[in-house]
Subunit: 180 residues, 2 copies
Amino acid sequence: MAKHNLQNTIALIERTPATLNALLRDLPEEWTHRNEGPGTWSAYDIVGHLIHGEKTDWIPRTQRLLEFGESKPFDKFDRLAQERDSKGKTLPQLLDEFARSRSETLAELKKLNLQSADLAKRGMHQALGSVTLSELLASWAVHDLSHLHQLSRVMAQQYREAIGPWTKFMGVMQCQGHSE
Amino acid sequence: MAKHNLQNTIALIERTPATLNALLRDLPEEWTHRNEGPGTWSAYDIVGHLIHGEKTDWIPRTQRLLEFGESKPFDKFDRLAQERDSKGKTLPQLLDEFARSRSETLAELKKLNLQSADLAKRGMHQALGSVTLSELLASWAVHDLSHLHQLSRVMAQQYREAIGPWTKFMGVMQCQGHSE
């Protein structure tokens, strides 16, 4: 699957809210609200970050690209927005909000009825330069997976001491905390 | 949460079948049946491996430890068993089997009604040496998370080319394929 397949992308991103819901809802806060140290994210922070992406990243960038091509770069993504936006909300509220946002963005994506020629169109990323719509939408799926990957590591780290000598057998414990 | 909390462990491991079901059921095989290269595992292989763990690892080792202490080591875990056991089964069948197995092992775990004194008891791991029941059970949760971590990476790798320059922004793409 070296090439991007939009139907496969949609199949993946439409499952993410239910996946996070099954994993995180009503899980003890020792799992969901702890991070990997100062400046790092908990599962709670990650869900907030995903919500912000629904509002400001994937569909707005798709629209910018289709309207302006490479002539007007995407807006910068605020990687700390969830600190502000999640304030006062519980994790179940964030999970509900993510499910609602994702279902809205999916509806907008489907409404665009994108064809192969659209997927080849180019836009401008401030840091990455010229990118195709295909690359942007494929990144939406990988971004979900990257945060699932991060979240499983953050949670596993909470048991680093509890598992004693098993640390060396667990792949997740060998992962060098990439930021996402 | 440096210390092991059995209720937190149970809360986590009882959610894994629903998490994998939400993520993987009816997802295109381009996501679920591809691996990271020769000798590596696909999401399909990982679910088979988790089923084998339910049958031969966590509860049987708990029973061995409670019955024999350090005098009789755990049986070795067969990390390739799923190649044999999954043969001819579809992924939805494996997901059903995992959910069933996990619910049975959870019932057995709860029936043991383990107390703090039990969790401090020791058994013998062939490679790791003396381990406590607490470490064994905490490892059950981390093993689930480790395979969720692996599975999100294996799936993300299928889009390595599709996302073009975004590769460098995705943490999951920086992960050095640990075996689990």
